[in-house]
Symmetry: C2
Subunit: 361 residues, 2 copies
């Protein structure tokens, strides 16, 4: 059992917001960025919450991220836009570009926005969920630093390139899909290493390109495998999805793609060349009433959710979940009890406090 300390979500997000403000991020943007981080912590996606604050600080401290970006549309049509994030925080650029997608959907039925010159935007699911209250289906993708091998490749060429889609229901909670297009998260490999435990065959390859169960062999120049793992179980499919995300986020917007996607953290390898500006995101919004009566959609979605919950359960499992269930359960618990932070994250936040002078008690 890992020891954790509980912190109220509000306290963490106040701290994050003040840290961003310290670097000249305008108050409203700082609050927005902090809210996206807080959403990750609340939903149990610990890798994308305040655990990442120190990395954002490193980049801001060195002037690698623009605290006051001029986020602007560089090309558009009735239902599409390309946005240049002016090297701002992804946590600031992302919400604005996503809002453009939803505004386009309001006027044209759907809105699709590809974003260049941006940085790490946090948790993909948060973006997809922004349309739920408006009866929109929301989509969010991003590319990221290379970590994943294409099928039959022996080196890192793609990011973990997530796809998130959120569907509103009627009286049932929404379905929120949020998946990285690799077989398993890098964080899980790190955890196995800390516990001196092997990783399952299918998660990773070593630097020679062979499937490995040794977490250290993946970390030392190996790579994660795409969703589907090897060829036999469909690794070509996860690779194709990761590549599609890369093209929609980066080639369509003019950002860096594939192995040239710049790193999120200072200690990560700098790509050999630059083929665009920053990293890329892709957002989509679809107005449900542009397709079908929203009340009928809600009734059918409720029926679908109940039908899937009633699936006969596989032995040794607690039965079928709907995408978004685990995160919603985590959020209910963490809103009541607080966010559990492990000691290294608490130490990191104390370090951020020392660097910035923002109190963290």
């Amino acid at each position: 059992m890992v020891e954790t300390t509980l912190f109220p979500s509000e306290r963490l997000s106040e701290f994050s917001a003040r840290v961003f403000e310290h670097y000249g991020v305008p108050r409203a943007d700082a609050a927005q960025a902090a809210a996206v981080l807080a959403a990750a912590d609340l939903r149990g996606v610990d890798s994308h919450g305040v655990a990442r604050l120190h990395t954002y600080v490193d980049m801001l401290e060195l002037g690698r991220i623009n605290p006051r970006p001029n986020v602007r549309i560089v090309r558009e049509s009735a239902s599409t836009a390309t946005v240049d994030g002016d090297n701002g925080l992804g946590l600031v650029v992302g919400p604005r570009a996503n809002e453009i997608a939803h505004a386009k959907a309001a006027s044209a039925g759907s809105g699709w926005v590809s974003v260049c010159h941006t940085n790490h935007y946090g948790i993909a699911g948060w973006y997809a969920m922004q349309g739920l209250a408006r009866a929109h289906i929301g989509w969010a993708m991003t590319n990221s630093t290379k970590l994943v091998a294409p099928l039959f490749g022996a080196e890192r060429m793609l990011g973990t390139n997530p796809i998130a889609i959120a569907f509103p229901c009627g009286s049932e909670p929404p379905i929120v899909v949020d998946l990285a297009t690799c077989a398993a998260a890098y964080g899980k490999v790190e955890i196995a290493k800390r516990h001196n435990a092997p990783i399952p065959a299918g998660w990773a390859i070593d630097r020679a390109g062979r499937v490995t169960t040794d977490p250290q062999a993946m970390i030392d120049g190996g790579a994660l495998l795409p969703l589907g793992s090897e060829r036999e179980l469909g690794g070509h499919k996860g690779y194709a999805l990761a590549l599609s995300v890369d093209i929609l986020c980066a080639v369509l917007s003019g950002a860096n793609w594939g192995p040239f996607t710049p790193p999120f953290a200072l200690r990560q390898e700098v790509p050999k060349r630059s083929v665009g500006k920053g990293i890329g995101h892709f957002f989509g919004a679809m107005r449900i009433d542009a397709f079908v009566d929203p009340a009928e959609f809600g009734r059918q979605m409720d029926d679908l959710v109940r039908t899937f919950r009633a699936t006969r359960a596989a032995p040794g499992t607690s039965g079928v979940l709907l995408p978004g269930d685990p995160e919603r359960e985590a959020e209910a618990l963490r809103r009541a009890e607080g966010i559990p932070l492990v000691q290294p994250v608490v130490e990191d936040l104390r370090d951020v406090s020392r660097i910035t002078g923002v109190p963290f008690a």
Copy 2:
């Protein structure tokens, strides 16, 4: 080695077209339907070509499919439409609805069309590729008869629900993603059974919901597993993708979803209840110049394709492919040499000839 007979693609598609015409399908629609079947055979997707003609014939013979559908838009916005296929052949309804998506993209930057009251539409990749010549990115999805279990489920609840996306390049051939959201195709389970061979763990479960390596145990009331297989390798991700396809194709259009999706073939189980009309498709089109200068997009895509081909190869493999490579190679070969049909398919076509009186020599 399986024995095959080679047939020129044109001869097979002429035969298919005349068979459709025999059932009252108008000449242009019959030619369109035959062209979609031929595309599958040319691209090496044998399961979706003339091997399926007998099944279409069974349905037309019994009046289960409307040969002269009134395909119409029932709701629309600048960038979206919902289409009712009037129970036509999917091979006829699909191309028309897809064309509506591309026409919307021409005027509004992107076009998204959800289709109800339709039937099996053939190979998803064909639809996605229809935008390539117009510098559009094309998307195509469909739901289908239940065959796949949701993660932690012990029964069939979802179709193999494919996702296809086609991206034009500059001078390189296009990238064509076309993947079913299950770990492996049902056809592969059938092949293993014919060879008395086990299937890999991760493809399927038996009727009790346990992972099985016995193809017969899957066929007898078991189910395929989603892409990612079990929880450890990301089976929840493939399940979430399959469910998303189902919602976009069927809930958004008013078609039947999940376990209620009607069967393609007569011998398949009839669903317990009906929750909509027919099966559902979803098409998308994005005009590249609505996002970025198409010449620049072409240059970047060419660079991306060459960069990925130059990935260091994993040992024991011939190196990294791009999505669409195997199908393009099959097409080059089959255009030159003909379509290899196995004897049972040839017998099936002879039977179609006997039923319809259309000569097949």
